[in-house]
Amino acid sequence: MPRKVGKYGFGIVIEVAAVVGISLLALLLMFIVKAIMA
Amino acid sequence: MRKAAALVLLSTLFLLALAGTLSASVAFTPGERVPITDLIENMKKFDGKVVTIQGQVVGDGMVRGAFAWVTVDDDPFSNKSVEEGGALVGMSNISMSVWAPSPDVEPIRYYGGYKNQGDTVRVTGVFHRACPEHGGDTDIHATSFAVLRPGHGIVHSIQYPKLIAVILLSAVIALLWYALKVRRKSAA
């Protein structure tokens, strides 16, 4: 078992943050498109 | 006077009958049962209308406060499931989600699954193509929800041919294992 993977708790936080970030960007984009097309 | 009245009455009846036959293929009568597959294939037509469906409840009744979600299937398997020996008709299931008042859902005894055929229910309510209250989900908000027939447990009798196959194959495995051990011993 690789030794250095002790910080894996934080690894999960980073990855979840990345997904949340992408989702928020997309949400913003959808909001803008909706506003323009309305 | 009477002749005129009779004429008006007859004409009205005739026109109604004509309208009825003409619209039979286009409209539907609210309160009359619609197969769920019609709803799914023609969501635009039924959107916002009052419809009635009838079928088996499956899975879970998910109570969320005053209301609950139940899933109703009305495919051939809801009459006779594969687990009861029902014929394979070429589909998975035809399901519709119903948002009903929790007290209406409470009396349900059986939900369909491997071990049970669920209760048969009849639901009348407003169909939504993309329900704004539920994030765009396709659903029916029930105004009337009734359990027509209770479900029942499915009896699964042991399928002996499978048991025999297991026993036979186990014997073969034992033989092959022994042969392997002999082979390894002689190689050593």
Binding site: M1, E15 | M62, V63, V89, G90, H156, V172
Partner: protein, 506 residues
């Protein structure tokens, strides 16, 4: 000069496949346990038959095909490609015995769909399926995502050099760690950690949303496996729509997007190289193409007018788009809705996203973000070269854990695979059209199969033509293996037929 494989070569391959089938038999112990715990005795028998059949095959190969030599690259490739097909045949036994499949072909279809983490299904009456069968279906995607071969490697080949060759030929060339066995174990450790955390969150919210504890537990594990592996299976016919839960949608979204990331990326981020998450070319490529397709989809939704609020755009649009782009296949709408409620523009945004696919060395399918990055950067380099002085040398590099220069051979390999995907997508779409399906629906399902996504616009049903079923199985298999192993298998066939016997050289 092509040499005909000797009987020793064929024996070696058969022996390797035997080991893979042993692995399949062993993992059947899990659904067996679930069936016993659920007192589903006929399902127990289904799995016992499956297991004994697998062990019998394994013992036959151990008895007859043991050879002194070690596997070479070529053997590895063939075991990987042929092994998937044989594993499909054995794995389909419990499916077929359950009675929920019209034919053995249908059962094999669902097996290949599970192993390749596609998610298209031909199972009938899913709402009445046993817990054992559902455990097997979802476990297949979890195991298939890790690569059945990785499983076999971890447990069965300890120490042998042949192990690496099979692993690499499965399409995961990332050398996380020098020792391939340790790499396989690292992949497992990351997956198991997410399994525990992901399932726990799903369980908590399923409870809150009104599910009973026992069913909630099973569903949380199954939904996790389906999402993490980017398989897209769910235990009920309505897939994710069944739960009517924004929370469950968000959690599965997070799980399947993370699940679609490259394992090397996970390893880098988890061992302290945190900046990798923003520098990695696949994360960047995914973000960019996700934004482009979101833009397309939003325009489509706005014009078509069925979905109106931002919430609906997110829960119906973004969720299904992300599910498509990561090649997961979990959906919150009916199949016909992709055509009738989404409209043409949004539907094609999803097709494009599916085709591009997820990350390399992950459970995802499609072209892969890495290839999109290589291709785009290389094209950019060519454009720069056109406007630079003749004597200038333009070279591009990409960042994927480390910096990599794009050279001719990398580009050639990339283009070969990209073209192969486009060909299979195209043929699949055209076949569907020939059978009378509408072009949009035809391409939607064909790209879904070839990219191992699993969303369906309604073409994939038990009633679809058998030839299409066979072609879809081929697409799922070839797409998952990224063609290299498939080419090797064809090479073997040609060598058997046309190769010179080694002795003839004298």
């Amino acid at each position: 000069m092509i040499f005909r494989p000797t009987s020793k070569d064929l024996k070696l391959i058969a022996w390797g496949i035997g080991r893979v089938i042993l692995g399949v038999g062993l993992i059947m112990a899990i659904p067996l346990t679930v069936a016993i715990a659920s007192t589903e005795w006929n399902t127990v028998l289904d799995f016992l038959v499956g297991m004994t059949a697998c062990f019998t095959f394994w013992l036959i190969t151990e008895n007859t095909c043991k050879v002194d030599r070690d596997l070479t690259w070529f053997h590895g490739l063939v075991v990987a490609s042929l092994g998937w097909l044989v594993a499909m045949g054995f794995g389909a036994l419990p499916h077929f015995l359950s009675g929920h499949f019209k034919s053995y072909l249908d059962a094999c279809f669902d097996l290949m769909s599970g192993y390749t983490t596609t998610g298209l299904i031909l199972i009938q009456d899913l709402d009445h399926a046993s817990n054992g069968l559902n455990m097997w279906r979802h476990l297949l995607t979890y195991a298939g995502g890790q690569g059945i071969i990785v499983i076999a490697l971890t447990f069965l080949f300890a120490g042998s050099a042949g192990a690496f060759k099979i692993y690499a030929s499965e399409g995961k060339e990332e050398k996380l760690l020098p020792n391939v066995i340790r790499t396989a174990r690292a992949i497992w450790m990351i997956s198991l950690t997410y399994l525990v955390i992901g399932s726990t969150f799903l369980f908590m919210f399923l409870m809150k949303d009104g599910m009973a504890a026992g069913r909630g537990f099973l569903h949380s594990v199954w939904l996790f496996m389906g999402a993490w592996s980017t398989g897209g299976f769910a235990p009920m016919n309505l897939n994710l729509l069944y739960y009517h839960s924004f929370a469950i949608e968000i959690i599965t979204l997070v799980i399947f997007v993370i699940g679609s990331f490259n394992f090397a990326l996970h390893y880098a981020v988890w061992t302290g190289k945190r900046s990798e998450i923003v520098k990695n070319i696949e994360v960047r490529s995914f973000t960019i193409t996700m934004m482009i397709t979101t833009f397309m989809l939003s325009i489509g939704f706005s014009k078509f007018g069925v979905y109106n609020s931002l919430t609906e755009f997110f829960r119906k649009g973004f969720y299904n788009l992300a599910s498509g782009h990561t090649t997961t296949g979990n959906s919150t709408v009916y199949a016909t809705s992709f055509y009738k409620e989404f409209g043409f523009i949004a539907m094609w945004a999803i097709i494009l996203a599916m085709a591009i696919g997820a990350s390399a060395c992950s459970t995802g399918g499609g072209f892969k973000g890495l290839r999109m990055g290589i291709f785009t950067k290389s094209l950019w380099g060519d454009i720069k070269g056109l406007v630079s002085p003749e004597s200038a040398v333009v070279r591009e590099k990409i960042h994927h854990v480390k910096d990599i220069w794009i050279d001719e051979s990398l580009l050639k390999g990339t283009m070969l695979v990209l073209i192969s995907y486009m060909v299979i997508y195209g043929v699949g779409g055209l076949l569907g059209i020939m059978y009378g399906y509408s072009p949009s629906v035809s391409f939607f399902d064909a790209v879904s199969a070839g990219s191992n996504t699993g969303l369906s616009a309604g073409l994939t049903t038990p009633l679809m033509p058998s030839l299409l079923k066979v072609y879809y199985i081929f697409m799922m298999w070839a797409g998952r293996l990224e063609f290299m192993s498939v080419f090797a298998l064809f090479g073997l066939g040609i060598a058997i037929v046309r190769g010179r016997k080694v002795g003839a050289l004298r």
